[in-house]
Symmetry: C2
Subunit: 208 residues, 2 copies
């Protein structure tokens, strides 16, 4: 037992479940369609994961972890000078979201539809992030005092970066048809968008 075949079967179900849940959400997902997509019988899915709920939680846990690590990407490389650091942070975060384009919508939908469930998880994440922000805020304040950049609130800056980067992907299907040629070539558009987001944020912190 517990051989490669088993592992692989469980993995197959998880992979199919991830796809199904990320695109259709909990309510839209069908266990039978997950089973079909992973090539196992419907009963097998329940044998491995007992309930749809439990299968879903496996996916949610992983996705929440991925999501929070994406937020640390914005921090950038602490060894670089502050402007370079922020520049690299934006780019890293953008690439992260580009590699997981379905993630933000999924996480946001999940939190909106069952907020109580994540309260505990959240309070903790909030505390961790807060101390991390404080460090960066201190560095920004020092740079501002040296006259290198404008004095800004790091949390506000983070929200702006996330807004610009995430919205690009969350709203892509919404905007693609109404933006004409600008978005016709996806790769080209994403590269332009990434540069635009960096430019927008750098101008925000530039000393005037």
């Amino acid at each position: 037992m517990d051989n490669q075949e088993n592992k692989s079967k469980e993995q197959l179900i998880l992979a199919a479940a991830e796809q199904e849940f990320l695109t259709k959400g909990y309510d839209g997902a069908r266990t039978i369609s997950i089973a079909k997509a992973s090539g196992v019988t419907h009963a097998m899915l329940h044998y491995y994961f007992r309930t749809k709920e439990q299968l879903f939680e496996r996916i949610v846990d992983e996705k929440f972890a991925t999501m929070s690590s994406s937020m640390f990407a914005i921090m950038g490389d602490p060894l670089l000078p502050i402007v370079e650091r922020i520049k690299g942070g934006i780019a890293a975060h953008f690439d992260f979201v580009a590699a997981n384009p379905l993630l933000p919508r999924f996480v946001i939908n999940e939190i909106v539809s069952r907020p109580e469930r994540y309260e505990v998880l959240y309070k903790r994440a909030g505390i961790v992030l807060n101390s991390v922000y404080n460090g960066l805020q201190a560095e920004i304040d020092r740079a501002a005092e040296r006259g290198e950049i404008e004095r800004v609130d790091v949390k506000m800056l983070f929200i702006s970066i996330m807004s610009l980067n995430i919205f690009t992907f969350v709203a892509y299907p919404f905007m693609e048809p109404i933006m004409g040629e600008l978005m016709a070539d996806r790769e080209r558009f994403l590269a332009a968008r990434k540069a635009e987001n960096i430019e927008t944020i750098l101008r925000r912190i530039k000393k005037q």
Copy 2:
């Protein structure tokens, strides 16, 4: 027949349906729970709207119209000088989204889950918006030639404005618990955020 009582009953169902669909989406919504919320029997809901699908479409139509008019708000007042116009456009759009905070997530989710359904609607909207953009782009180009502002792509600017304004509300439940005191007072935070978004965009177009 067709008296006030009837009108009011249909309206009650529509109001409850709007709330249910906007918060839970099509799959998560239950006709029986809409009926309960509006104080009519389950059969009555079907009597008035035949199917869940038809009831949903009534809501979708209205919401899509609201959404597209929100996009025109970004245009601002054509009589003002360009910088003031953009400033006013951002503020108007922000207020619009603030008044309909559930709208963007609903529209995006709907488009992602059933894209084919909105293709036609979309191609038309795209054409309209395109010509509108062109007008504004021309004005921006003239102002840039006079050296008043930086030369920018108006579509990119629009995406940035939408990103900053919409993400604030879409991700509010996600960020509220991890941003600590910054978001503790909602009114205060939204006012600060609105100012921050305007500042960010104005700096983006400022001549350096």
